[in-house]
C-alpha cells in the first residue's frame, strides 16, 4: 500500500495577515505558518492505515517555497517514510488547476494506491486540488471523508453530507480522497520521530512552467455594514453592560 499525503503550509489561525503594498497578496514577513488543519487529519489516517496493514509506505508531498520543508519535517517526524517537495517560489498561486497539474506531473510515476489530502486549505479555501489530481491520474475520487475502511483493493469512505447526514461510498483503488477534520485524533511527533525525521529523504522536484487559469487580483479586509454595539470597559464593566443588555434590550432574562 503506497499512500501519498498532500500537506500544505498555511498561516496559522492566530497569525497576522499583512496585505502587501500593491494588494496583490500577503506580505510574508510576519506570518507564522502551520500545517493546514485537515491535512493533519489526512496524514494521521494514512499513518493508521500503514500501521494496521503492517506494510506500506507513506509519502508526504508539499508544494511551495523552502519554508514548507517545516511541515514536511513534521510529517516525517510523525511517521511518514519519505517526502517530495515540489519547489515553487511564489506562494500566491491561487489556481487549483495549475497546482494540481504540477502535483500530478510530479507523482504520476509513483503510482500511488491512495492519495489523501485535506478537503480544503485554510488560506485559499478552493477545495479542489485533491479531486483534480485524482481525476488527472485516472483515480476514483471522493470528498469530505469522515471515516475510511480498506479491504482487498476497495476503499469505503464515509462522506459527510449537509446538515448532519452521511453516506458510505465504495470504490476501487487507486483513489484520491479528501479528508474532513475530526475523523481521527492526530498524533504528536515523538522525540524519537523528530530525531529520525532528520535522516529521512526529501526528494526535491523543480517543475517547469504552467498555465494559470485563475488568479487573485486584489486582496483586502472585508467591510461590514452591520451596526455592532461594541461593549467596552474593564471586565466588571463589560459584565454589567452585558447583563443590562440581556435584561433590557435582548430581553432574555
Amino acid at each position: 500500500m503506497k499512500i501519498a499525503v498532500l500537506v500544505k503550509q498555511v498561516p496559522g489561525s492566530d497569525s497576522p495577515l499583512p496585505i502587501n503594498s500593491n494588494q496583490s497578496w500577503l506580505d510574508e514577513n510576519g506570518i507564522s505558518y502551520v500545517m493546514n488543519e485537515c491535512d493533519n487529519y489526512a496524514l494521521e489516517e494514512a499513518l493508521q492505515i500503514k500501521e494496521e496493514n503492517d506494510d506500506g509506505e507513506v509519502v508526504v508531498i508539499s508544494l511551495g517555497p523552502d519554508r514548507v520543508q517545516k511541515v514536511i519535517r513534521e510529517g516525517l517526524a510523525k511517521g511518514a517514510d519519505r517526502a517530495i517537495h515540489i519547489q515553487m517560489n511564489s506562494d500566491s498561486i491561487a489556481d487549483p488547476l495549475s497546482l494540481a497539474t504540477l502535483f500530478a506531473d510530479a507523482i504520476r510515476d509513483e503510482k500511488f494506491d491512495l492519495i489523501f489530502s485535506g478537503l480544503q486549505s485554510d488560506d485559499l479555501g478552493m477545495g479542489q486540488t485533491g479531486i483534480i489530481i485524482g481525476e488527472m491520474l485516472g483515480m476514483s475520487t471522493a470528498s469530505l471523508a469522515m471515516a475510511t475502511e480498506l479491504s482487498e483493493g476497495i476503499i469505503k469512505v464515509k462522506r459527510e453530507l449537509e446538515a448532519g447526514f452521511f453516506q458510505w461510498v465504495s470504490m476501487s483503488l487507486p483513489a484520491s480522497i479528501t479528508i474532513q477534520s475530526g475523523l481521527n485524533i492526530p498524533r504528536y511527533p515523538s522525540l524519537k520521530g523528530i530525531m529520525g525525521a532528520k535522516k529521512k529523504e526529501i526528494n526535491i522536484v523543480t517543475p517547469g512552467g504552467h498555465d494559470v487559469k485563475q488568479s487573485a487580483k486584489k486582496v483586502y479586509v472585508p467591510q461590514s455594514d452591520k451596526q455592532t454595539v461594541m461593549i467596552e470597559g474593564s471586565v466588571d464593566q463589560i459584565v454589567d453592560k452585558l447583563v443590562e443588555a440581556f435584561r433590557n434590550e435582548i430581553k432574555v432574562i
Binding site: A100, G125, G127, G164, K213, A216, P222, K226, T228, I231
Partner: protein
Amino acid sequence: MDILIVIEDNNGKVHRMGLESITAAQTMAKDRGFSIAALVMGSNADELATQVSNYDIGEVLKLEHDLLSSYSSDGYAEAVKQVVEKESPKYVFFGHTYQVRDYVPKISAKLMKPFLVDNVLMNSDGDDTVFTKQMFNAKLYSDMIAMDEGPLLISFQSAAYSSDNAASGSASVRDVNINLDSSMIKTQSEDPFQEESGGVDLTSAEIIVSVGRGIGKEENVPMAKDLAKAIGGELASSRPVVDAGWLSSTHQIGSSGQSVSPKMYLALGISGAIQHVVGMKGSKNIVAINKDPEAPIFEIADYGVVGDVLEIVPKLSEALE
C-alpha cells in the same frame, strides 16, 4: 445560452442554493445582456423542470438517464461535462453545496477550465466579471479573475444572492441527451443516513451559549456549561470543539451540524467562518466575545465584546446567578 445553471435535487425539490444561483444568473444576464438556461437531471428531473420553468430564464434543459437516477461524482461530472461541451455556455453556475464540492472539480479537470468557487459577490469589469471569494477563513476577501475564455465554472456561497429576488417567468423545457455507460462510474453509494442525535435538539432553544476553539482546552468547557445554566440556555459549539472530542457532534452548529435561530446566540471564542455562520446567522440577537477585534464574527454580531472569554465568562455566570 450564455449562462448555464446546474440545478441540484434536494429530495425532489430544487435545492435552495439552486434558486440563489438563478438570482445570480439573472443579475449577470441583466448586466451583460446574457441568456440563461437551467439544467435539471436525475430521477426527479420532471418535477425539477416544472419548478425551474417558473423562473425568468430562457429554457430548461432536462436530462434523464438511468445512471443519473442517484448521485455519483463520476456520473454527474461526465453528464455536466457533456452538456457543457454541447451547449458551450460562457459560464456554468452552481450553488457551492457539498455535492458541488464533490464532483465539479472533476469537470474542471476534464475540461481544463477553471472553477471559481464559493463566491460571495460578482462585479462587471468591462467585458469581464470579477468574482469575490472569502479567504483565510473569511478574514480577507479576494477578487478573482479567470484567465481563460471559458466555459468558466462558478459557484456561489450560500445566501450570496437571495432566492427571494429571483424573477419569475415561464421557460420552455428541452430534452438533452448524453452518452454514459456504467464503466464510467467507479463509485458505489449507499443511502444517506443521520447519526443518533442523542436527544440534543438545539433548534427549539431560546438561548444558545456556543463555544469555539477560543475556549482553549477541554477543562474550560464546563465554564461555558455553567454560563448556559445560569442564563437558562443550551450549550452548543463550533466544529473544532467537536473534532477535539470536547463535546459530542450533536452540539455542532453549522453547515455540517444543526441550524438554529434562537432569540440570543452567545458566541464564545468563535471566529465566524462561513460554515459556522450559515448555521446561526438567523439568530435574532448575536452576541460575540472574541479577543481578536478583526474576527469575522463581529461582522454579523449585534453586540460585540473584544476580550478574553476565560476572564469574562465566569464573572458573567456569577453576575447572572
